[in-house]
């Protein structure tokens, strides 16, 4: 239980520890630390502790150059899920409608194909990735930059609960640790460390998502970036990654191929000729309902009906009055 003492020491001292420091403070902390009592307290709270020395500790995470002493785990799922092939989907908190949608559909399709979707439970891209995975009834893991009992951000409390119900919420910080700005970059190394590949959906020039990508590159993991508009500040970071040699992501299959997987072919529902025409037009680019009506010659009522059918079939999605193709 050396690691538990270490992790608790880190929590008590606001630091994350790479190795065991040889200071008198650590020694005195350890001497006064009752590992059994601490474990019991965790269990009472419904949490688990996964030490680095535990054989179940995810091997990919153990392989990074500064793995955490252990992980605090909340959730119903087996620990083994952390060792399964996983992909990180990260990006801006303040993302565009495009970023939200891409994150969601990537989360959905990658989880459906059997990958574990790992992200940071932040607003924006992170939450959408988790939601997408939940929609596909896939596995998703949230890595926090604070104690696993903290609801941060508060708006994602319900999402955290859902993730914990079918997947895992993990953190290297002991329960009770408050979120703080310097903990998030450290958290990102775990996100990248758990995964064989990292997808950056939308990132500004100096974004935490880029830090995650950096960690992934350092460890020799695959990095994908979703190309964005070159005029949009929201895509400056992800486009810069592409220039540096990240793999452009054009569809979920790109990621699946790097894992040697193939997408589940969803049974294509029969589309009528009008619905096919609408879908073709939406695939050409994001478009509003009125422009679709003009392009296809359909009445507003008829078109609304077709769009809803396509939406229910998961072929298009709508946000702020603009329809985009997905799937």
């Amino acid at each position: 239980m050396n690691e538990l003492a270490l992790a608790s020491f880190a929590a008590a001292n606001d630091s994350h520890l790479v190795g065991e420091p040889r200071s008198a403070r650590v020694a005195s902390f350890k001497a006064g630390f009752d590992a059994a009592a601490e474990l019991e307290r965790l269990t009472r709270l419904g949490f688990r502790f996964l030490a680095r020395s535990d054989p179940g500790f995810p091997p990919l995470l153990r392989a990074i150059h500064d793995p955490p002493p252990g992980l605090f785990v909340r959730g119903e799922e087996e620990i083994a899920v952390l060792a399964r092939p996983a992909v990180a989907i990260v990006g801006a908190r303040a993302c565009s409608a495009y970023g939200r949608q891409i994150a969601r559909s990537l989360g959905r399709e990658l989880a459906a194909a059997g990958l574990v979707v790992v992200s940071g439970l932040a607003r924006g891209v992170d939450s959408e990735a988790h939601r997408g995975a939940l929609e596909a009834s896939g596995k998703t893991v949230a890595v926090l930059g604070c104690g696993i009992d903290r609801d941060y951000p508060a708006a994602n409390r319900e999402l955290a609960r859902q993730v914990a119900a079918t997947g895992l919420v993990v953190s290297e910080y002991a329960p009770g640790v408050e979120p703080a700005p310097w903990r998030f970059p450290a958290r990102n190394r775990i996100v990248a460390g758990l995964c064989g590949a990292t997808v950056v959906v939308e990132a500004r020039e100096r974004s935490g998502a880029l830090i995650t990508a950096d960690f992934a590159l350092e460890e020799g993991r695959e990095v994908f970036a979703v190309p964005g508009e070159i005029t949009s500040a929201l895509s400056a970071g992800s486009n810069a990654l592409l220039r540096l040699g990240a793999t452009p992501l054009t569809c979920a299959q790109d990621v699946l191929e790097s894992f040697g997987l193939s997408a589940l072919e969803p049974a294509a529902p029969e589309l009528g000729p009008a619905a096919t025409a609408v879908r073709e037009r939406v695939r050409e680019g994001a478009v509003g309902a009125d422009e679709l009506a003009r392009a296809t010659g359909l009445g507003a009522g008829e078109l609304a009906a077709i769009l809803t059918e396509l939406e229910l079939a998961g072929k298009v999605s709508q946000e702020e009055g603009v329809y985009r193709a997905c799937g």
Partner: protein
């Protein structure tokens, strides 16, 4: 000597019979009005005295007591002036008391004896009819309004005319029917270029009486569309027109030259309006904008800018079609069965949904903006449409369909809706259930979709609600970016 005249006080919209008793006896000359009169009413003293003097009539130099009975009912406003003056004149035997007792009277006195119109003449006339009186003395401006209340209106311009009439010396000319002033042009749907989806939603809203929320970046024609809803609504039925008139008369917004309301009311209060201004209130409760829009359209432009209490107060009328204003002095009920049309931006900086602008709102600001609209209120909108910015090509296109043909379709749709119950086919039911599973739809949301689907079926002239109608209705559900 005692004399009596009859008028009516208004409690909310309800006329209550008030007897004005004037008593004259010996003693020091004086004039007192008793019977829970408010300030405007108590000041009648001075107007009545000057008015009687100006009309070359005699002011009795005795002790005059006027009682407004029942004394427990609060009397407000200046409408009692005429009754008080006539009761004093009858008590001093200047007009025949028995003839006065056959008439109701309403009007404010000017210092020179002229008679001014007051609000609520229609309701007072209705009260007179219910009290079994056949004639009402009123200002000539209120005569048309009073006639509509079902009694004969005797239009009097001056107190001396009223006296001459009661003495049987002359009869004032009957009220002239209002000139056939053509009603001001309503804004027409032809002015709106493009926006087919929003136009379609407007048509559905008109046919089914659904509440409509138009969201989108500024300058996309949300308000313009909302203002054109009355132009595609069918005209008021006579029974509805009377309800509307009663409210408008009490609020004093009935135009004297054309008191008969034929068009559906359209009210668009500014977003700085208080709760009382929206749902009605005040010490002697008066109808608010929600009631003034009864049987018509209430447009709330920039919905999130309204004070939250004012918006929440609208939930009762939206559900029950009635506002009940409770005050210490009593409760007033105002009908408020209106159709709500609201517009809003998608975020405080208004950049969201606009391809040419970038939203610069922080997450906190956005959350605060969305918090202003409770889910309970958003749930009351059957139709939610996000209006995108029209392209240049749309704006340059020729005029779109005008209001008249749309109004005809709406009328036909309404008739179908009141006829046989349209029921969903099995396939339509399945689609609805599938949608409830896939989409974030509450129980109320499901009922809402079902209602709109019925309207879509009625507009299409279909006998059943088919899957395509349900699918269309689903397209107008509250999008997730609004349901915070």
């Amino acid at each position: 000597m005692l004399a009596r005249s009859v008028t009516h006080a208004l409690v909310g919209l309800e006329p209550r019979r008030v007897e004005v008793e004037a008593h004259i006896d010996g003693g020091l000359p004086g004039f007192a009005i008793v019977g829970l009169a408010d300030r405007a009413c108590a000041e009648a003293k001075h107007r009545v005295r000057s008015g009687i003097g100006s009309a070359q009539l005699e002011w009795p130099l005795k002790r005059i007591t006027v009682n407004l009975a029942p004394a427990g009912l609060r009397k407000e406003g200046s409408g009692f002036d005429l009754s008080i003056a006539l009761a004093v004149l009858a008590a001093s035997r200047q007009v025949p008391a028995e003839r006065l007792a056959e008439h109701a009277a309403v009007g404010e006195l000017a210092l020179d004896g002229r008679i001014r119109p007051v609000r609520g003449a229609f309701a007072v006339a209705e009260g007179a009819r219910r009290a079994g009186l056949e004639r009402i003395l009123c200002a000539s401006e209120s005569a048309c309004e009073a006639e509509l209340g079902g009694v004969e209106a005797i239009p009097v311009r001056h107190l001396s005319e009223a006296v001459a009439y009661l003495r049987g010396e002359s009869r004032p000319p009957p009220a002239e029917p209002p000139d056939e002033v053509s009603e001001p042009e309503q804004p027409d749907l032809a002015d709106v270029r493009g926006q087919e989806r929003a136009r379609r939603a407007l048509e559905l809203a008109a046919a089914g009486g659904h509440n409509l929320l138009l969201a989108g970046p500024p300058g996309t024609g949300k308000t313009m569309l909302g203002r054109r809803l009355p132009s595609i609504l069918p005209p008021l039925e006579p029974r509805e027109a009377l309800e509307v008139m009663r409210i408008h008369s009490v609020a004093g917004v009935l135009p004297p030259e054309r008191p008969l309301v034929t068009r559906r009311p359209f009210r668009a209060p500014h977003h700085s309006a208080s709760t009382a201004a929206i749902v009605g209130g005040g010490p002697g409760p008066r109808p608010g904008e929600a009631s003034l829009a009864h049987r018509g359209v209430l447009l709330l432009d920039e919905l999130p800018e309204f004070q939250r209490p004012a918006l929440e107060a609208l939930r009762q009328p939206l559900e029950d079609g009635i506002v009940s204003v409770a005050r210490a002095a009593g409760q007033a009920l105002f009908p408020a069965r209106f159709q709500l049309v609201a517009t809003m931006n998608l975020c405080p900086c208004a950049g969201r949904g606009d391809p040419a602008a970038e939203c610069s709102c922080s997450a906190q600001r956005l959350a605060a903006f969305r918090d202003k609209l409770s889910r309970a209120l958003l749930d009351r909108f059957d139709l939610v449409v996000t209006v995108p910015r029209p392209r240049a090509a749309e704006l340059a296109a020729g005029p779109s369909e005008a209001s008249a043909p749309v109004r005809e379709r709406v009328g036909a749709g309404r008739r179908r809706l009141t006829g046989d119950a349209l029921s969903r086919t099995k396939e339509a039911d399945e689609l609805l259930s599938r949608a409830v599973e896939r989409l974030p739809l509450s129980g109320r949301g499901r009922a809402r979709v079902a209602r709109v689907a019925r309207t879509a079926a009625a507009l299409a002239g279909s006998d059943d609600v088919l899957p395509e109608h349900v699918a269309e209705a689903l397209a107008y559900r509250s999008p997730k970016e609004l349901a915070a």
